[in-house]
């Protein structure tokens, strides 16, 4: 194929009465020159748009490479926000730990004494909601899990809370905790704290081939107390 102009070719011929195998012979020939030109332009435009879109999606999903680095800004401009995608469910490795998130609240009483509630197991509530449900709700399966994942990831690169996004995710996580604690603690509270206990999932009974570290003691992480205003409740 030495003619690379593609769809322009049909215009160079006149007098044809229609396509070779279309449902309606002569469809093309019934079009006047300007309409033929417009259709040809549309073909060129649509085909290139489809090919470019697929190429950009591929480059976005593929590991960073010389091409995707060079065209980073163009790829991002096209993909974000509507074509963003992430196909990493349980990959590269599924999560191999349990993360159990609890919250407790505190109230400063009129006499100045701070009263702290017991720990409320938020994860257990989600787990119980998923149990024996053929269609678990996003509120149980995704909300707290993804909020913590996103916040933890943001903290990993932004421990000093300099980025606005980290603060937004913190507010989100706090709101989830406040909403759920409010259903358990019936008095208003001034502050809330989260605790994340990470326990490794036990290895399969057969000796695993990989050199994964043996199950270690659970890691406990306390987040700072976050203030709660009456508007939040």
């Amino acid at each position: 194929m030495n003619d690379t102009s593609g769809p322009a070719v049909p215009l160079q011929r006149d007098g044809g009465t229609g396509p070779a195998d279309g449902q309606e012979p002569g469809a093309w020939a019934q079009l006047s020159r300007p309409v033929q030109l417009a259709v040809t332009g549309a073909v060129a435009l649509c085909v290139s748009a489809a090919v470019v879109h697929v190429a950009l999606v591929f480059l976005y999903v593929a590991p960073a490479n010389t091409v995707s680095r060079q065209y980073q800004s163009q790829i991002d401009a096209w993909i974000y926000p509507y074509f963003e995608q992430d196909w990493r469910l349980f990959a590269p490795d599924p999560q191999s730990t349990h993360q159990q998130i609890s919250a407790r609240t505190s109230t400063v009483a009129a006499n100045g004494v701070t009263q702290t509630s017991d720990w409320i197991d938020l994860t257990a509530v989600d787990d119980a909601a998923v149990r024996h449900d053929v269609f678990p709700s996003h509120t149980a399966q995704n909300m707290l899990r993804r909020a913590w994942d996103a916040y933890e990831t943001a903290l990993g690169t932004d421990a000093r809370l300099t980025s606005r996004r980290t603060l937004m995710l913190q507010e989100y996580l706090r709101n989830i905790a406040v909403q759920r604690a409010a259903t358990r603690v019936h008095e208003p509270f001034d502050a809330i704290q989260l605790r994340v206990v990470t326990t490794p999932i036990e290895q399969p009974s057969v000796r695993p081939v990989s050199n994964r570290p043996a199950a270690s003691a659970p890691g406990v992480r306390y987040l700072p107390w976050w203030q709660v205003t009456t508007d939040d409740l």
Binding site: A20, D21, Q30, P81, D93, D126, V134, Y172, I201
Partner: protein, 339 residues
């Protein structure tokens, strides 16, 4: 090509064959053939309609399932507050009808609108219009709850956008029942032809993008897993089956988990099928791979409690069913169960 042309050119039927461009041998050149194919031969019309019905119904079921939690996920009372959502949209450029007002009544109206749109889209009523509305609804709801979504929501959002350009209302739809009664006056013939060519062209490009998107999805999912040690040593399923949030039937999960050989084989097969997918769809192997994926996704739906995610994937796989296969299957079903 020259010898081929010489042979076919000698055939009386092809000599005078009309066409936009006829080669010296009386046969359209490859570019013309591709051009004609793109503008006059709509591929996979049944598959496109399956996708429309599938995603429309899936989203309808999703909205009904989350009806009791609608305010918590998308409403003014969500922990991801309207203010936070608006701020994020300001950073990312997303648009959602849901953040236009914080009023509860407005939200309830949007929810009702979403339910009706999903139902009409599944039915194929004025599909050109409802497909745009469906994409608007799905993008609005997905963006509003972006930090509560998973791969299934993501895929439905992409497919809703792609389906806008396809002719997904040509088969099995209310439009298809109405269409035969319409006939255009001859004066507008040119416009009618041009319009049909353009819609066929858009449809074909849309179906190509959908197919490519699914290939990218499986290829990426498979290749990411190849990099993981747990998928390599065959223990990945053990960890997946022990995540509490993906364990609606703990006894069933424990049962599957106890079969170490089965778990290892299933883990390897998952990776293999996903990596092979983009190559297998061009061969007869396609149907074997699609059957394996169907089994895998049904397993995920039940075992891991991810029916929405699995449903979205199964519907996406339907994009690879050819029209001839679907019509043959329908004919066989009609013969078996006559009305």
């Amino acid at each position: 090509m020259t010898s081929d042309q010489a042979v076919t050119g000698a055939r009386p039927t092809t000599v005078g064959l009309p066409g936009p461009a006829i080669g010296a041998g009386g046969r359209p050149d490859p570019v013309t053939k591709a051009f004609t194919f793109l503008t006059e031969h709509a591929v996979s019309l049944y598959a496109a309609s399956l996708l429309r019905i599938g995603y429309g119904l899936l989203y309808l079921v999703f909205l009904l399932r989350e009806f009791p939690n609608r305010d918590e996920i998308w409403g003014p009372g969500s922990p991801w507050t309207p203010a936070l959502a608006r701020e994020l949209f300001g950073q990312t450029g997303w648009f959602s009808i849901l953040t236009l007002s914080d009023s509860t009544w407005y939200f309830e109206l949007c929810y009702f609108f979403a339910l009706v749109t999903a139902a009409l889209f599944a039915l194929g009523w004025r599909t050109r219009l409802t497909s745009v509305l469906f994409a608007l609804v799905v993008a609005s709801f997905h963006g509003r709850s972006i930090y509560m979504s998973d791969g299934g929501d993501n895929l439905i959002e992409l497919m809703a956008i792609y389906l806008m350009v396809t002719d997904c209302g040509r088969r099995w739809s209310l439009d298809a029942r109405r269409r035969p009664r319409r006939s255009a006056p001859t004066a507008q013939r040119q416009l009618v032809i041009a319009r049909r060519m353009l819609s066929t062209l858009l449809h074909n490009c849309g179906m190509f993008v959908i197919a490519a998107q699914v290939c990218v999805l499986y290829g990426a999912a498979g290749l990411y897993k190849v990099q993981g040690g747990l998928w390599r040593d065959g223990t990945a399923l053990h960890y997946v089956l022990n995540l509490d949030l993906f364990q609606p039937w703990p006894a069933l999960s424990a049962q599957v988990d106890s079969h170490l050989v089965f778990s290892a084989v299933a883990a390897y097969l998952t990776v293999l099928v996903q990596v092979a997918f983009p190559f297998a769809v061009f061969s007869r192997l396609k149907y074997v791979v699609l059957c394996l994926l169907l089994t895998m996704h049904l397993g995920i739906a039940v075992l891991l409690g991810l029916p929405m995610f699995s449903g979205a994937m199964i519907i996406a796989d339907a994009a690879f069913l050819s029209d001839s296969l679907i019509t043959r299957a329908v004919a066989a079903a009609r013969r078996r169960w006559p009305r």
